[in-house]
Structures are given as C-alpha cells and as structure tokens.
C-alpha cells in the first residue's frame, strides 16, 4: 500500500513500485487532467507540482515519492480556476485544443512561484513544454498578464 499527499489529501493505493506517478494519478486517483504525451519527460503534458516545483510525472516512479511531499495536479491548483495563470488564460483565450495546457499552466504557475516577475527571456527559457497547436505567444502573454508585466521590456 502506497501513500501520497495529492491536492491536500492523503490517498492510499496498491500499485507496482515502478508505476510512473502520472499513471497513478490518472488510473488510480482518476485525476485525468494530467496528460500522457511522450513518456520520456520531453513534452511536459504531465507536469505537476511536487513541493511547489514543476515536475514531469511520466517518468518518475511512484516509489520515488512519499506522503510528506505535497503533490499538486491541475485539479488542485485552485478550487475555482482563480489562480492568476488560470485567470490570464481565460482572459486571453490561450488554449486551442487544450491538451497540453494542464502541463503548460502548471509549468507557468511554478515559474511565477519562484520568479514572480519573469522577463520574457526567462519565460521562453523556463517554460519548455510542447504545444502542437502553437499557443506559445499567448502563453507568454498570459504569464506576463498574470505577473503584471504586460508590455515590460525583457
């Protein structure tokens, strides 16, 4: 029986040790907002927060985590989509198909948690998620809006 702290709740489940955190979230905890995209930590669709840090959950075995760590998924980012990133995304209609956006939002929120006013260069460097629809420019604008740096040089 494994125990994790996910979105503020301690959850217990039985699973093989090498099961990636992603598949525990999706298949055992029914938290399907976190997506499978590549399985090799290349695309970021599976991004969650572990103690506030963005982490790609598809290639981390569940055995690498314990209930002392706070895991937050897109479903737990805010109770009502009120996180500044979610609000900015809504205002700018950032998502297209939306499939990568859970991971994109989690990566952006983690960036702001560490760097509340990132420069454009920092945003481009730090958020490395893949979006095939091509929302990148609205993602940048959304992060700047959430950070209150819209129009700032950088």
């Amino acid at each position: 029986m494994a125990k994790l702290n996910v979105n503020g709740r301690v959850v217990e489940f039985t699973v093989e040790d090498d099961t990636p955190l992603l598949w525990v979230l999706r298949e055992h905890l029914d938290l399907t907002g976190t997506k499978y995209g590549c399985g090799i930590s290349a695309c970021g669709a599976c991004t969650v927060h572990v103690d506030g840090v963005a982490m790609r959950s598809c290639s981390q075995p569940v055995s690498a985590f314990n209930e002392g760590q706070k895991i937050v998924t897109i479903e737990g980012l805010s109770p009502d989509s009120s996180h500044p990133i979610q609000q900015a995304w809504l205002a700018l209609d950032v998502p297209q198909c939306g499939f990568c956006q859970s991971g994109m939002i989690m990566a952006a929120a983690a960036l702001l948690a560490v760097t509340p006013r990132p420069t454009e260069a920092q945003i481009r460097e730090e958020v490395t998620n893949i979006c095939r629809c091509g929302t990148y420019n609205r993602v940048i604008a959304g992060i700047q809006r959430a950070a209150g740096t819209t129009g700032a040089a950088g």
């Binding site: 093989e16 099961t19 990636p20 598949w23 999706r26 298949e27 055992h28 029914d30 938290l31 399907t32 907002g33 976190t34 997506k35 499978y36 995209g37 590549c38 399985g39 090799i40 290349a42 695309c43 669709a45 998924t73 897109i74 479903e75 980012l77 805010s78 989509s81 979610q86 995304w89 809504l90 209609d93 950032v94 998502p95 297209q96 198909c97 939306g98 499939f99 990568c100 956006q101 859970s102 939002i105 945003i123 481009r124 460097e125 958020v127 490395t128 998620n129 893949i130 979006c131 095939r132 629809c133 091509g134 929302t135 990148y136 420019n137 609205r138 993602v139 940048i140």
Partner: protein, 724 residues
C-alpha cells in the same frame, strides 16, 4: 472529483445506450429532456440555448465560430449559448440533417456557413411564429432580439424559453424561404468573442478521448508491425499473462498484438514482455535513400500527369537566353498530435459503440460498423474532444478498427485502447514525400519566359482515396498551383507554364497533414521565385508584383505584409546582428495568405527568427481573435516542420520514435507573429491551414538574404548556415 463522478454517471447511461456522452462546452446530454426547436437549436425553459455543432473542435475554434453563425441569425442571447455534438448515428438516422461531419481542409465554417445560418434563422422564425400564435397576432408584427420576442404594436414580450416547446411543434420553413442577413447587418459574426470551450481546459475537467472511463472498463495497449505491410506470425504471451492485472493477449487484425489489463500502464508493461514474431513482408529493406532515387528518376520521366498547362513552357524555356534550374525536396512528417491515438469501444452481437476523438464522426462510424461486422444503424460513435487533429484523425480511422477488433474479442466489456507515443510515431499517416524540379527561362530583361514545375513523388489520394485518381492524375497534388477555381490558385501570370506530377508512391502510408500539399508547393514555387528574382537582379517583391496584375487578392496580402514590414527599408539590427527579410504568398483552402519573415544568422550559422508578419484574406472573418490564434499557431506547426520535421525510413520502418528524435519548436525559438486580417468580402476562405505553407518559404528566403545560401531540402536543421 465531482466532474469526474458526474461523467461516470453519464458514461453508465451511455453504456446502456440511453444517453449521449457530453459534447464540448459542458452543454450536453440535457437535450433528451428538452425537445429541439429544429435540428440546430434547442432552447431550454431557462433560456439556455444549445447550438448543435456537426464539425469537430480540435483547437481550431470552429465550435465557437459555427455557434456565432447560428446565433447571428437566431438573434439569441450569446451569453446563454452552449453547444453539443449530434452523433453520427443520429445524423444517419435523420437523413444527414446536419450535413457533412468531416472536419478537414479548413472547411468547417466555409462549407457549412450557409446552412447553419439558415438553421439559426429558421429556428428564429419558428420561435416568433409560436409567440405570435399565442398572442393571436400576425408574426410579421413581431420581432426578435437577444432571445426576447416583442409584439411591436402592444409592447408585449416573451422569451425564447417560454415558447420553444410550441415552436418545436411547428413545421420548419423550407430553406428557400429562409432569408439571411446581409453581411452589413451582422452583429456577432466578425466579433472577437471569447471561445465557448476555454473554461474546462483550465482546470483539468475537459474530457479528452484518453480520459474516458466507463464502468467495468479494461485498458488495452497495442503494438503493430513497425514495417508497413508486415504481419504477425507468432505470439508468445507466456510471460505477459503472468504479469499483474493482465486479462488477455490478443491478435488484432493481421499485423498487431494487444494486451488487455485492468490499467493501461500494466497492459503496456505486459505488452513489452510479449514475444512477437513478425513477417516483415516485402518492404523490410525499404529506405528513404532508396526512395529518393525513385523520386529523382521521376523528375525527368517522360510520363507525367498535367496539373496546369498555359502555353508551351518547354519551348518558351528552350528559346530563352537564360535558363535557371533547381531541385527541391520535402520529407515525410508525422502529425504528432499531443494526444496520441486512442478509442474506447464496447461490442456485443447486437450493437457496437465507440467513443473517440475524431475529425470525421461519419468516417469513424463507417469504420466502426465495418470492423464490428454490424449494420451502421446498430453502431454509434460518440465524438470526444480532440487533443489535436491536424489531419491524422480525419480520413483514416485505423485506430477505431483496432479497438473494435479488440472489443469484439471480449463481448460486453468496454475496452479503452491507447497508443504509446512510439506507436503513434511509427504508425502515422505521413505528410507525403516529394521532390520538384523547377526550370525557368529568363529573357534579356530578366522577365520569366516560361516555367516548368515537375513534381515527383507521393500522392495522398493514391493511398487513401484511390478511386479519385483518374488516369494517374491526383488533382490534390496541384494545390496552390491551379490556374483558376478559387480554392488554391497560382498567383502569377507566367507567359507559359507547365505543372506536372510523376506519381511515385513509397510503402509509407500518406495522410492529409495540416496544410496538405500546399506546404511543399508553396515551398518549391516561392523559394524558386526568390531564386529567379536574384538571377534577374531584381527585388523579390517587385519581381513578384510584375507577374501579379491579374491576381489582385494574392497581391493584396503580399502588399499588406511588405508594407507592415517596411520592405525596402533596412530592418533594425538585433543584438548587433543584421536582420534580413523574406517573402512568401500563396492561395489555398480558399484563402489568400502571405508572410514576411525577419531573421538573423550569426557568422557561426546560428539562425534566429525574430518576427513574422502574416496577412490573411479569408473573405469573411467570423472571429478575428481566433483567426489570429490560428495564424500564430500555423507558424509553430509550419516552422517546426521547416526546422526539424523529418521522418526517415530505414529497414522498412520509421526511425523517429518520440520527441527526442522528432523535435518540436518550443517557446525559446518562437518568433513574434503580427497578424493582419484583411477580409475583402464576397467569399468564404479557410483559416486553419493555409498559413502553414508560407512559414518555411518566408524564413528560407530571409535566410538566403542573410547568408546567400539556398536551402532546397527540408528540414533545415542539418544545413550549414554559415555565410556563403
């Protein structure tokens, strides 16, 4: 968790065939309780308007755009609009009342605009009639606005919700008797309204195909022969069957093996433990290099299908004092939708149901029925939200056949099948591979005397709809090169022109890949136009303009980007590096598009794309902010293809298996994009695809301006860009 448990309850209903699974925008499944006004419109007693959308939403915004068009004529309160998908089974049962469900070729809005507007207008007429009848007054004395009907003489009002039930009992007016507003009267069409489907994409509640969960569902992982045409000869599942959660190891068709387990992860782990023996078939030694030789021979083959012939190009070129020739090439590419192929199915001897993200519900339905061995009327497909489509989820439904084949071997059990990224890369339906030999004559003044464009290589239709090939001619090959037609026409009036195609098909299956054949055709033509301008010693813009007198709409978008960029004045250097510009213009999917790219290339050969200016003339612009999103996104898709996109074949199979070997453009290299939406009215052009095609040529022409180097083979990641 509430959303998920509610979904599960709905899914249980779906399992018993009584319910529909929710469509996008959370509208869903309530319509069973509220009769429709007509096929397109349901109004609930609380005035909520549910607009039915037949095309699929895959990010391109068609859901919102089509709803705007219905609502424009319906005169309803836009703030109360939600949407739902009718199912392909319902469309079949009702004589295709919702028309074509195919969502490709940038046709969603332009092909259905008239009948969806008429659908909204007819519903409005019926609602007004119902109110007038209740009041005992002539309908002509009543008007409707913002979901409220007013009898002008008495000032009485009522709402759509109050009369919808009565309206639904009226006989719908004949389409011919339903007038439409002139464009000058539009209030909602043309407005940059917010998308209707954004909120659930912000908190993880949007259910994609991959996320579906049905009661009692098992999960399947699958692996098909990596060599196209190969088959399974033996399966040793001993080890796999001992692994946790595993229920069955199954053969699927003649070329694949699936493991069914309680969870997908366990199924996939067990699949890796299955020992499969393949018969790799006749293509086991095929390679990209080998096929390139086949295509190269086609460049000079005597036999070729003619796409566009104006005058005698060969004679005009032969008589010219100068001849310019260049050979270009475009590789295979995978769509690489962020959501890999997946579907869920349940099969019994009486009925089959499938849940899947699809660009064409009707094609998915046909594939499901065929695989199920059941009449279409006993099958149903529930369209789920797509995590990207780009053409992969449209014409061919190979994955639907697979899941039904699995479900058929386990009657009554819902099976969700999900591919790995690796499977998705290996089992793609690829952008066709082609080469082109461009030959032109220039006279003493540097004017083109004639141009011959010989395309050699793969035909999409030959692979997917071979019945549409006539005398070896695939008309889609000539996209953007046609003489006339309004769909995809060449923008230059050459004195003589020959465009022809020597069809050479490899064993790699082709697909319609966002932008389709316009991608390589614009690359070939527009980079060669730049070569000709250079050979003639002329400015690339002026050289083009001189040939565009009879193509004012092409010229309009080209002028728009040149003017915005400040063509003719030097671009400001960035970080000490000189910035150079390149142009491209084309016409496809009924829209005119152009781009001007601004790039710098360091002495060490490092490319930076700083800014792209893009212009679109799509005739009528329904939602400008969504058009801008499509144009911006097109540069990600198009530049990813130009910079990195290549699937190569070795030993009969695709070599690139994931994003580590098939890289994607990310934010660090994404240029700024300035979009000019310049609709000139009078026609309906598509938006989702045409701009893809101008991305690569504009950048490549700018690279030439910066370095003097011509890139004639994509992708350019392996090119040495150090200054010539």
């Amino acid at each position: 968790m509430n959303a998920i448990s509610r979904r599960s309850a709905l899914a249980l209903g779906a399992f018993t065939f009584a319910f529909r699974i929710p469509a996008p925008g959370e509208a869903a499944a309530q319509t069973a309780a509220t009769p429709e006004v007509n096929a397109w419109v349901v109004v609930k007693p609380d005035d909520t308007v549910i607009i039915r959308i037949a095309r699929s939403e895959m990010g391109q915004g068609t859901l919102t755009g089509l709803a705007q068009m219905v609502a424009e004529e319906l005169e309803c309160d836009w703030s109360k609009v939600t949407t739902e998908y009718p199912t392909p089974g319902q469309n079949l049962a009702r004589g295709r009342i919702w028309g074509n469900m195919s969502t490709g070729g940038s046709r969603g809005i332009r092909e259905s605009q008239e009948y969806v507007r008429k659908g909204g207008a007819a519903a409005r007429i019926m609602l007004v009639q119902a109110a007038a009848a209740a009041w005992g007054v002539p309908a002509a004395e009543c008007s409707a606005a913002n979901s409220v009907i007013t009898h002008r003489a008495s000032g009485r009002t009522t709402s759509y919700g109050a009369v919808a039930l009565a309206a639904g009992r009226l006989t719908p007016p004949a389409a011919a008797d339903v007038p439409l507003k002139p464009p000058s009267a539009w209030k909602l069409i043309g407005q940059p309204v917010a998308r209707l489907d954004t909120a659930p994409k912000l908190n993880g509640s949007q259910i994609y195909g991959m996320d579906l969960k049905l009661p009692g569902m098992l999960n399947a992982a699958i692996h098909a022969c990596p060599v196209f045409g190969g088959t399974v000869t033996a399966v040793d599942s001993t080890a796999a069957l001992r692994m946790p959660g595993v229920k069955r190891v199954l053969r699927v068709g003649d070329n694949a093996v699936a493991v069914v387990a309680d969870t997908w992860w366990r199924a996939q782990k067990a699949l890796e433990a299955v020992n499969i023996t393949w018969n790799l078939g006749e293509h086991a030694n095929a390679s990209s290099a080998g096929f390139a030789e086949v295509m190269r021979a086609g460049l000079d083959a005597p036999q070729a299908a003619v796409g566009n012939r104006q005058g005698d190009a060969a004679a005009a070129i032969a008589a010219a004092p100068r001849r310019v020739e260049a050979v270009y090439g475009y590789p295979h590419q995978n769509h690489a939708c962020m959501e890999v192929m997946n579907a869920t199915a349940i099969w019994t001897p009486e009925r089959c149901e499938v849940w899947t993200p699809t660009q064409n519900g009707e094609a998915a339905h046909a594939a499901a029925a065929e695989a199920a061995g059941l009449p279409p009327a006993r099958c149903e497909v529930h369209k789920l939200h797509l995590g990207g489509g780009f053409g992969r989820r449209g014409a061919v439904h190979d994955w639907v056949r697979q899941v039904v084949d699995i479900a058929k071997q386990m009657p009554g059990t819902p099976i969700k099948m999900l591919w790995t990224r690796e499977e998705d890369m290996l089992q793609g339906r690829f952008h066709p591979v082609t080469m082109a030999k461009m030959t032109a004559g220039l006279d003493a003044q540097g004017q083109v005397t004639g141009l011959h464009m010989r395309i050699s290589g793969q035909s999409i239709l030959a692979g997917i709809f071979p019945q549409n090939i006539r005398d070896g001619r695939d008309p889609v090959v000539f996209q953007g090169l046609n003489n006339a037609g309004g769909e995809a026409d060449i923008g230059y009036g050459f004195p003589a022109l020959l465009v022809d195609h020597a069809m050479r098909n490899p064993h790699v299956p082709p697909g319609f890949w966002r932008g389709v054949n316009l991608n390589q055709n614009a690359f070939y033509l527009e980079c060669f136009m730049d070569e000709l301008a250079h050979a003639a010693g002329k400015d690339p813009l002026e050289f083009r303009r001189a040939l565009m007198a009879n193509h004012p709409k092409h010229l309009g978008v080209l002028n728009a980007v040149a003017e915005r960029a400040g063509w003719g004045t030097p671009a400001a250097p960035v970080g000490g590096q000189a910035v150079h510009r390149g142009l491209c213009v084309t016409h496809g999917f009924g829209a005119y598009v152009a781009a001007c790219a601004e790039v710098s290339v360091s002495n060490a050969g490092e490319l930076k794309i700083h800014r792209i200016i893009a212009a679109t003339d799509c005739g009528f612009a329904v939602n400008p902010q969504q058009i801008a999103a499509q144009v911006e996104g097109s540069f990600v898709y198009g530049l990813t293809a130009a910079l990195y996109g290549e699937c190569t074949v070795k030993d009969g199979r695709i070599e690139q298996t994931n994003f580590d070997t098939y890289p994607m453009m990310k934010m660090d290299t994404m240029p700024k994009v300035e979009t000019i939406i310049a609709p000139t009215g009078g026609f309906w052009g598509g938006v989702g695809e045409p701009t893809i095609a101008v991305a690569a040529p504009a950048v490549l022409n700018a690279i030439f301006a910066a370095t003097g180097k011509r890139i004639r083979q994509l992708p350019l990641r392996d090119a040495d860009l150090r200054h010539a």
